[in-house]
């Protein structure tokens, strides 16, 4: 019986790995996700075989409640809100591991203290720490993304010192748990510190750094599952947990590289605050405005167009009208593609999902490294709701806080049109030199409304 269950766990692990492997090709990705889900089902069924029949009723109820909530959320969530959903689910994953670890602790400390050996206690402590930090940290990330609390970095003096003191206190309390495992006070201190640490570590980080934060919390939720695997002596938890942990770390690295910042720099937080104050002293940039009709004419006469989407496109929900714009251009045999910066949006790959939702073929979406040499040969670049990722100051101005960040070379195109609500600054709080360039024209107004009008003009022309 136990051998059969171990074999089932092995099969589940293989299916998880194969599922991730299939994600390397867009056409196989959906099948990969299915395989991974089948692996999960096998793991669940195998575990259920070990469960006492008397417990089945409450288990069925819990699964029904969780399944209904999960399915409802997954079907209803808008594609622009996926970052919020991922943040929330990171938190649920962390909290589940946290609860399982505590459950195991109470079970063992209540009955047989001798089974709480050093490995067990260490795993429980780690699981509580990682799970707790993941939970509250993710909730803060969720509230920031959702706009329930300010996306601005919230900082106060002595913040890092407090975090350090809390960590030291955590280690001290862990030692006390080792000395007296049955003392509930010590475990209570561990719980409280881990929950507070999660809040304090995410609160100073600004809204546009959220791609890094949710990638990192994603990784933590995997590590929490790993720690739970050590508690329960269970390989499938460790395999699945490590896959998630690795995935989160890789995405975190990619995001940091794309912003030319170190992970430490992101985590210390407060980016953009001091800069915003200094940035206003520079000479005001004189911009040239363009209207809807001229924009339509420029599109009409171009032979190649590159669109640079940013978070503003998601906010304005402009992806569907951009597809209409693409259709108008393709009717005229204009080469129409998208240039995607790795940190555009609020999570890795956010733009790709939104454009896929608008039914735009994924081979039209080109990554930064592959597209950057094409800008000089492009007639028209259309920047929609992106700002810092096209700021040439990153290449030219060593004083700029974003200097050295890899950007899309939109400024090198013959003409650039920027669709923007107002002259507000980007996340970094600095002026965008591009807007003052002679080849740059500003199309002010809500992206969805103005682009709809441009499309209307183009329809009349043909």
């Amino acid at each position: 019986m136990t051998t059969a269950i171990q074999i089932a766990y092995l099969i589940a692990s293989i299916l998880f790995i194969t599922g991730i492997k299939l994600l390397s090709k867009t056409k196989d990705a959906r099948r990969g996700n299915m395989l991974s889900a089948i692996g999960m089902l096998i793991a669940i069924v195998a575990t259920l075989l070990t469960i006492n029949v008397i417990s089945m009723l409450e288990i069925a109820i819990c699964i029904l409640i969780g399944g209904a909530i999960g399915l409802f959320y997954a079907t209803k969530v808008a594609m622009t809100k996926i970052p919020e959903m991922v943040a929330l689910f990171n938190g649920f994953g962390g909290l589940a591991s946290f609860a399982v670890a505590l459950s195991d602790y109470f079970l063992k400390s209540g009955s047989s203290l001798e089974s709480l050996d050093a490995v067990n206690l260490t795993s429980i402590i780690l699981s509580v720490l990682i799970g707790g930090v993941t939970f509250t940290g993710s909730m803060i990330a969720f509230l920031k993304l959702d706009g329930k609390i300010s996306g601005q970095p919230i900082t106060f003096s002595g913040q890092h010192l407090i975090n350090l003191i809390l960590l030291i206190a955590f280690v001290a309390a862990s030692v006390l748990v080792f000395i007296d495992p049955s003392n509930l006070l010590f475990i209570g201190i561990l719980i409280a510190i881990s929950l507070i640490l999660g809040i304090l570590t995410v609160i100073p980080i600004g809204g546009a750094d959220m791609p890094v934060v949710i990638s990192l919390l994603n990784s933590y939720s995997g590590m929490a599952a790993c720690a739970t695997g050590f508690i329960l002596n269970n390989n499938v938890l460790i395999v699945a947990g490590s896959l998630v942990g690795a995935s989160g770390i890789i995405l975190t690295q990619i995001m940091c590289k794309a912003m030319n910042r170190s992970l430490t720099n992101v985590l210390l937080g407060g980016f953009g605050q001091t800069v915003a104050a200094g940035g206003q002293d520079g000479p005001a940039i004189v911009v040239k405005e363009i209207g809807v009709e001229e924009t339509a004419m420029l599109f009409d006469s171009a032979s190649s167009v590159l669109v640079v989407p940013g978070y503003g496109m998601a906010v304005a929900q402009a992806q569907h009208v951009i597809r209409e714009l693409m259709e108008q251009c393709e009717k005229r045999n204009i080469d129409f593609r998208f240039a995607i910066h790795p940190v555009a949006g609020r999570m890795p790959g956010h733009m790709n999902v939104l454009l896929a939702e608008a039914n735009i073929s994924y081979d039209k979406l080109i990554e930064m490294e592959s597209i950057n040499d094409d800008f000089p040969n492009t007639d028209l670049v259309f920047v929609v709701g992106a700002n810092d990722v096209v700021n040439p100051a990153a290449r030219t101005n060593p004083q700029s806080p974003i200097y050295g960040m890899p950007i899309l070379n939109a400024d090198k195109a013959r003409t650039v049109i920027v669709s923007k609500r107002s002259m507000g600054k980007g996340y970094a709080g600095i002026e965008n030199e591009l807007f003052g360039y002679p080849n740059c024209l500003m199309l002010f107004g809500d992206a969805k409304q103005t682009i709809t009008k441009v499309v209307g003009e183009m329809k009349e022309m043909s």
Binding site: N33, I59, I69, G70, N218, S242, A246, G349, V353
Partner: protein
């Protein structure tokens, strides 16, 4: 737990992490959002731990209630994670 049992778990951890790094670095940026929501689903593997924790008999113990709480959360992750990932991947089309 014996040292040899612990070593096996560490073996699994190290090898699975390496494999994860190799495989995930090959995932194209286009699929990074589905990768993350898919990871949410996979991190729901804690459901296995939650089920084991629910196996405790009677409703008097805190251990049991924590297990049931974890079970609801992990099921949300598993079901919601796979469903939303599938919904997204369905939209990725090449024309």
């Amino acid at each position: 737990m014996t040292v040899s049992a612990l070593l096996i778990l560490i073996y699994v951890l190290v090898l699975a992490s390496y494999l994860g790094f190799e495989l995930i670095s090959k995932v194209p940026p286009t699929l990074h959002t589905p990768l993350m929501s898919g990871s949410n689903a996979i991190s729901g593997i804690t459901i296995v731990g939650a089920l084991i924790a629910c196996n405790e008999l009677g409703y008097a113990s805190l251990a049991k209630w924590l297990g049931m709480f974890a079970l609801v959360l992990a099921t949300i992750n598993v079901v919601g994670g796979y469903a939303v990932t599938d919904r997204m991947l369905k939209m990725f089309k090449k024309k």
